[in-house]
Amino acid sequence: MNDMRTMDNAVNHDTKITARDVHVHYGTTHAIKGVDVDIADRTVTAFIGPSGCGKSTFLRCLNRMNDTIPGALVTGEIKIDEADIYDPRVDPVQLRAKVGMVFQKPNPFPKSIYDNVAYGPKIHGMARNKADLDEIVEKALRRGAIWDEVKDRLHAPGTGLSGGQQQRLCIARAVATEPEILLMDEPCSALDPIATAQVEELIDELKQNFSVVIVTHSMQQAARVSQRTAFFHLGHLVEFGETGKIFTNPEDSRTESYISGRIG
């Protein structure tokens, strides 16, 4: 990656998301402990950290998907475009239309592949007619790097795809609605290197206009696609900064240990 450009981009853009002192509790588990973070617009931010450190949890806070987990309690302040998303006036539906999400476990609907992708555009009224919709679906599937594999079986059920195909289908489904912020929870975990590269290309493309937050276990991937990286550990946000800096010159010793493969 070109570090210069990364810096450049990162500096250029305004803050899109601000989180202040966010705590999440699942019943007695304290999963996120006072996280402060500013996520810039038109940037790719990577969340890294050992398994179970709270990446997914924090990600789900950003579009209030934690609302659906019984017993999950979010405190603190998260603002997107200056608006507090936990404000009672906020409509989580609109929030989620704006903040798309790819989940860690692929969860295609038990519908046809086509309907899986067309679902979002349909509910958001993005297509005026069938042809429009076809176009949107095709484009999304292409961006999800799965068009070639499924173009002949668009009406087969999405649940009958392989693990990696389902994952890409879910990516396609998420980008089809063109969210301003895209949260991706390990979007490439089940993908082969080529597909991974295609998805990374997509992320890069999305970054031109939107904000992308990606959770990944692959530090190479984080280094490749992101401009900023946040390192989580045991629910704390240990370090957050320019990706280049985090990987080359981390401030916190825990970050360093993790990057050099010493703590997990």
């Binding site: 989940f103 038990p110 679902y119």
Partner: protein, 487 residues
């Protein structure tokens, strides 16, 4: 020996076989240093099953077969003396009762066991009366002879049965225990037996159906002998009368059934489904845990209450709205009892069938699907309508079918709420009636039970049975076609 002790002995043997087989398998495994193929309990169960299964089966068969065999052996004694048109079954019933009565007399000590064979025929009926045993007629010498023969044979049979069953149990136990070696696939054996039980349970449905058909078919045939089938199936008038010359066309009844069921479903399905959705998707847990059982109470209120509710409350209310001087000024409704009244009330009764079952099914749809949809910016209602409901569809269709079935089979509400008029009308505010209501009324009335007016109940039952069968075939096909399997 009576049946119950035999069963208890067999069960005791089974328990012993269980313990023996289990410990034998464990010891063998320990000795040979091998792992058991299955968990030790499975060896125990095989032992128990081998011991109890065949023995109890034999017992059951024997219990059925012994009287038949005895009957065949005893009949020749009677045959010679029986009147030409006498009914063997009836005579044998007397013989059997007589034999049982003598047994009872001996058991109660009124007759010494040794003298049981010497009681003269004339005294027997009185003796039996004292014993509370009803006899069809006075005891003839032949009957007495036959009864004594019966006693002898069944005493022998009982002894043989006891020995055979217990013997078989022992043999089975020995066999089961001997098989308890480490490499014996005990789990598979037990599971095969379990599977057999499961199949048996499923076949009970077929058995019930066969039973229903058999219980209906003879009288149905008898009915069609007395009444032309074409007029029954295609007649558009239903007017039974005592003097003969009844017109028994099923069409108005079928129409009434259909009409009332549809209205009931139009009430129950939307209310039930929306209630289910609300409970499963929106309501707070506490609300749900209260509201659901409350709605289920609607299913437990006896139907007669619904009938009275229809007649006394809903009917007059509807007349006030749609009747001659009603609030709407439409004059559609003549009387309080109408298709609408019965349909509405039946719909209320069916709400829990739709709501509770659907609620469970909706609740079982994995959360990840909801998350997927919500994550795309769908509203909850969009998620429910487009993701959750389709995924839950098979179960919901099942619930609706169950409700529809209940609607078709319901009687009391129709009798009280719909009026008894059998007519073909499109107006939902007219009185009509249903097939089931007429089955009940023709079956419980004053008509001659061998007349077509009474027998028609069976033909109605049979026809309804066939029709609902056809509807179910269609429903099955539809469900298969639209099923969405998640994951």
């Amino acid at each position: 020996m009576p049946t119950l002790p035999i069963v208890l002995i067999v069960l005791a043997i089974a328990v012993a076989a269980y313990l023996l087989a289990r410990s034998r398998a464990q010891r063998a495994a320990a000795r040979e240093g091998r792992r058991l193929h299955s968990l030790p309990n499975y060896y125990g169960w095989t032992g128990a099953l081998y011991a109890a299964g065949p023995a109890l089966l034999l017992l059951a068969v024997w219990l059925v077969a012994q009287p038949v065999a005895t009957r065949m052996a005893v009949w020749p004694v009677l045959e010679a003396e029986a009147a030409p048109n006498a009914q063997p079954a009836l005579l044998m019933a007397d013989v059997q009762r007589l034999a049982a009565g003598i047994d009872a007399a001996v058991a109660s000590g009124r007759v010494p066991a040794a003298e049981a064979g010497d009681i003269p025929a004339e005294e027997l009926r009185e003796l039996m009366a004292g014993q509370g045993v009803a006899l069809g007629s006075d005891v003839t010498p032949a009957t007495r002879q036959a009864a004594l023969r019966w006693r002898g044979l069944s005493a022998g049979g009982d002894l043989a049965r006891t020995l055979a069953v217990i013997g078989l149990a022992l043999v089975g136990a020995a066999f089961g225990v001997s098989r308890a070696k480490p490499d014996f696939r005990a789990r598979n054996a037990v599971e095969t037996a379990m599977r057999g039980t499961l199949i048996g349970a499923a076949l009970l449905a077929i058995l019930t159906t066969v039973g229903i058909v058999l219980a209906l078919i003879f009288n149905t045939i008898e009915f069609f002998r007395l009444y032309p089938a074409a007029e029954f199936f295609f007649g558009s008038t239903w007017s039974p009368s005592f003097g003969g010359g009844s017109e028994l066309g099923i069409l108005p009844l079928l129409w009434g059934t259909l009409y009332i069921s549809i209205i009931a479903l139009l009430v129950a399905v939307p209310i039930g489904l929306f209630a289910a959705i609300y409970l499963a998707e929106y309501a707070h847990k506490n609300v749900r845990s209260w509201a659901k059982p409350m709605l289920e109470m609607l299913a437990g209120i006896p139907t007669i209450v619904y009938g009275l509710f229809a007649l006394l409350t809903v009917g007059p209310l509807l007349v006030d709205l749609f009747g001659r001087n009603g609030a709407l000024g439409v004059n559609w409704m003549q009387g309080g009892t109408a298709v609408m009244t019965a349909g509405l009330v039946m719909g209320i009764m069916l709400i829990p069938f739709v709501s509770s079952l659907s609620d469970d099914i909706i609740n079982a749809v994995p959360q990840s699907l909801r998350d997927g949809s919500l994550g795309l910016g769908a509203t909850r209602s969009e998620t429910v309508r487009q993701v959750v409901l389709p995924a839950a569809l098979p179960g919901i269709v099942g619930a609706v079918l169950l409700a529809a079935s209940r609607a078709i089979g319901e009687t009391m509400i129709v009798v009280l709420g719909a009026g008894a008029a059998a007519r073909l009308s499109m107006n939902p505010f007219d009185a009509m009636t249903t097939v089931t209501a007429k089955i009940v009324s023709q079956l419980t009335g004053d008509a001659d039970f061998s007349s077509p007016e009474a027998l028609v109940a069976f033909a109605l039952g049979m026809t309804l049975f066939v029709i609902t069968l056809a509807l179910n075939v269609v429903a099955l096909w539809i469900v298969r076609r639209y099923r969405e399997q998640y994951e």
